[in-house]
Symmetry: C2
Subunit: 483 residues, 2 copies
């Protein structure tokens, strides 16, 4: 048994040795994905896909609660559509895959595979929106999109990925801006409470905003290697796409006016965030709300007592399942309990429930938390209240732990040298003053590959001078290396 | 008011005048779809997409109940993959769109957009399946697929469509055949009970089976113009893909063996079936189980009584919503009740609930069924039991009505002349004896464009001779024109 464990654990590279290697090891060992024969495209295996389904259910509920409806728009976008919004085409053109032949014929106009659907949806909205009565128009789409990236990384940056993209049209700028912020709020709550990933909310600098947006807002999370991951974005598009696609409505005053649009999205890269924020050297650590399996039951003890233990475990399984807990049982007797402990720790299952002959006698079970390793004995007749409470505790503790980690890896820099030192030596997020010029932003990037993450709504400090040029700072900006 | 109604109804072509026109009118008027700028691709608008979501929820539950899990495989399939199963490439090659450039470069190998995923999934299964312990492998995928069809028709045959494709691998032929039939059973129950569409279950003839399958089973539904629509298929693929993609496992006897695979799918064409089976000259008629809105509340009566009526309607709305009924209220006062009646009849909402001042006095409401037009007065305090019962009655009645229609348009032919007469003059399904030769099947098609739909598991008659060659019949076959 000791040998099995050791052999097994050896297969995951420790985070401190090589975080990237750790990540690639753990997503394969935990059976979340596999590489496909197509460059940069992965297979989402059931455990990963079910986490995505859980995200979908949770977010979809919020989208519908706030008046949005789902629709589905075509995968293909005619080449000419990309010409209609200048910044948009520049931003996305380098990443597009093109269909040039179909059904045996060469196409007259090339079709892009959608990298995002502002253009197609803008084209349709122009036909659907005629009058102020048609506004606001609040649609969302769950879909696959493709961006032919140079460097890819499973979940975080894949050629094809799954996402949702909301697209709304409004009569007034104020209403569109409210929508933009409402969706950022929904993303914040979802990522923090459902995925237990703390985020920094703020506005992107002009050089980092979405191609075609007036303003882009983001939520940024810190991974365990100190790098940032943009976990969701919400864009105020102003009238850029309305003008590009001629989306006009007849207002109450009988004037034709352009609408204001927004778009907002989160994607399967959140699965990567989950893994990199919570995982440890033993594997995944999954927050209970998103975990495909919340509790795994493992019967233990000698062969002669096995029948009675397995019977009790079976009945516990049914009891917990009926209580709405996502439970799994592993009563295999051709692998040892120790091997199973490692296996389910590696898969990140939040709670392990052990039951053996002595527990039976004492009418209790053992609960082991994945996040802290803490072990508690719980009387059988208290299980149905103790377990949901434990799952809640784990969810909260994981969020708090991640938040503490982020705080411990956040710095304030007054000079470029300081900033570079923090980025290279300490790893993490560095808050710095910024004069607002693209040159100073670029100077930071050139010095240490850190980019501006966002201008936070709530900064822990307000540096007086720009970290690069030392002119008065307009904003406090978070800088970090990022995925 | 009369004028509004008339003007409105005029816009839908009567079914008897031109069924195809009726269909195209109704799907646009009822706001289910719009044409997109890409050939053969439609936009699924919210009412249609929500029906698809309802189908997904219902089927997904059944898939999971029977041990399947969801996963997601890449959209792109390398060209070489299609060469590995000979029949498969011949069947699908003519319909493939090809990506030849991406990220600014010409690709070394062209990538097809998936028309179905047997090849990609076969490739992955070959890596995942090593031992008998890995079997059965039971996965399903919800995805978009593309087939570049020559003739397209919204929902029924679009270049891009949404579907699910199940793919399973088994150790034995028997188990794979059981799986094939289990899924056909699940489809049958779903289409008949959830969509209220009666189907004929049977096996496809060799010329109509899936490209690469050993045996294909289908469920076939009759549209109101007498044409058939294949509503779902389940394929026993034998070892064809296992051999093409080298999916072998080490059995208990230490021998390497090829697995047996199945695949099965239903798609958004079911939405077209729904519409064509139940719709009438006033528009859609939706079965309550799949209807995005089950009940629409319309307050009526003179302006002076309006406030009290709307208040009562509001409270009914909350009451029904809390009872789990999908309810909508239309209290607009800038359109007439008559206009609303037509509008929601056209959209196929199963029940209209009217409430006016006199109803308030009598503590009752009026319920009007969309399927029969029947009107009943229901006391307010019985509504929460009466309404679910009425919705159930409508669901059952719609199924029975469709079944009766199909029976009234089903014929038995002994000669080719008879068969052609039924197809051309009566429209509908014709059961005929068949010797089993592809020539005789083709003779029927050449004579009247009817194709074999399937060899039913339960035929209402067993003709003794082949309808074409008059040799002894091997099978009774349903022939029909089809979508």
């Amino acid at each position: 048994m000791a040998k099995e464990n050791k052999a097994f654990v050896k297969e995951i590279t420790p985070q401190s040795e090589d975080f990237s290697r750790w990540y690639l090891d753990v997503i394969q060992k935990a059976d979340l994905m596999d590489y496909s024969p197509v460059r940069g495209c992965i297979v989402f295996k059931p455990d990963a896909y079910e986490m995505w389904e859980a995200c979908q259910r949770e977010l979809d509920k919020e989208f519908k609660r706030t008046g949005h409806r789902n629709a589905y728009f075509p995968l293909f976008i005619p080449e000419s559509f990309f010409q209609k919004e200048k910044e948009h085409v520049e931003g996305f053109n380098p990443e597009l895959p093109w269909v040039t032949e179909a059904g045996g014929d060469k196409l007259e106009e090339r079709l892009a595979i959608r990298p995002t659907s502002e253009t197609m949806i803008g084209h349709m909205y122009a036909q659907w929106i005629q009058s102020y009565r048609d506004l606001p128009l609040l649609l969302n789409q769950w879909a696959n999109v493709v961006r032919w990236e140079k460097r890819t990384l499973p979940f975080l940056r894949t050629s094809e990925f799954l996402w949702q993209e909301g697209h709304t049209a409004h009569a007034s700028e104020e209403e569109a801006r409210q929508e933009t912020m409402q969706m950022l709020d929904i993303y914040t709550k979802f990522v923090e409470e459902f995925l237990a990933v703390p985020v920094i909310r703020g506005q992107k600098t002009p050089s980092e905003k979405f191609a075609g947006a007036v303003d882009t807002y983001s939520i940024e999370a810190m991974m365990k290697d100190g790098k940032a991951l943009q976990a969701g974005t919400s864009h105020f598009l102003g009238q850029n796409f309305a003008k590009g696609f001629d989306i006009q409505y007849l207002d109450k005053d009988n004037q034709l006016k352009y609408v204001y649009t927004t778009s907002w999205g989160i994607s399967t890269r959140l699965l990567g965030a989950l893994i990199m924020v919570h995982g440890d050297d033993r594997g995944l650590v999954l927050p209970p709300k998103v975990a495909p399996t919340q509790v795994v039951i493992i019967p233990i003890g000698p062969q002669k007592a096995r029948a009675a233990v397995v019977e009790a475990a079976d009945s516990l399984f049914a009891q917990l399942r009926d209580a709405g807990i996502r439970v799994r049982m592993d009563a295999r007797d051709d692998v040892s309990p120790g091997w199973k402990f490692n296996e389910y720790e590696m898969r990140g299952i939040p709670v392990r429930l052990e039951i053996g002959p002595r527990d039976l006698e004492n009418r209790q079970v053992v609960l082991v938390r994945r996040d802290t390793g803490e072990k508690t004995f719980v009387p059988l007749d208290e299980l149905n209240t103790a377990l949901p409470k434990l799952l809640d505790d784990i969810q909260v503790n994981m969020f708090e732990t991640a938040k503490k980690f982020r705080e411990e890896h956040s710095y304030v820099a007054n000079t470029l040298d300081e900033l570079v030192g923090y980025i290279n030596d300490q790893r993490g997020f560095v808050l710095a003053g910024w004069c607002g010029s693209a040159e100073c932003e670029k100077a930071v990037k050139d010095a240490c590959s850190a980019t501006s993450r966002n201008i936070p709504f709530e900064a822990p400090a307000q540096p007086a001078h720009c970290v690069n040029c030392q002119q008065p700072a307009k904003h406090a900006v978070w800088f970090a290396k990022s995925y």
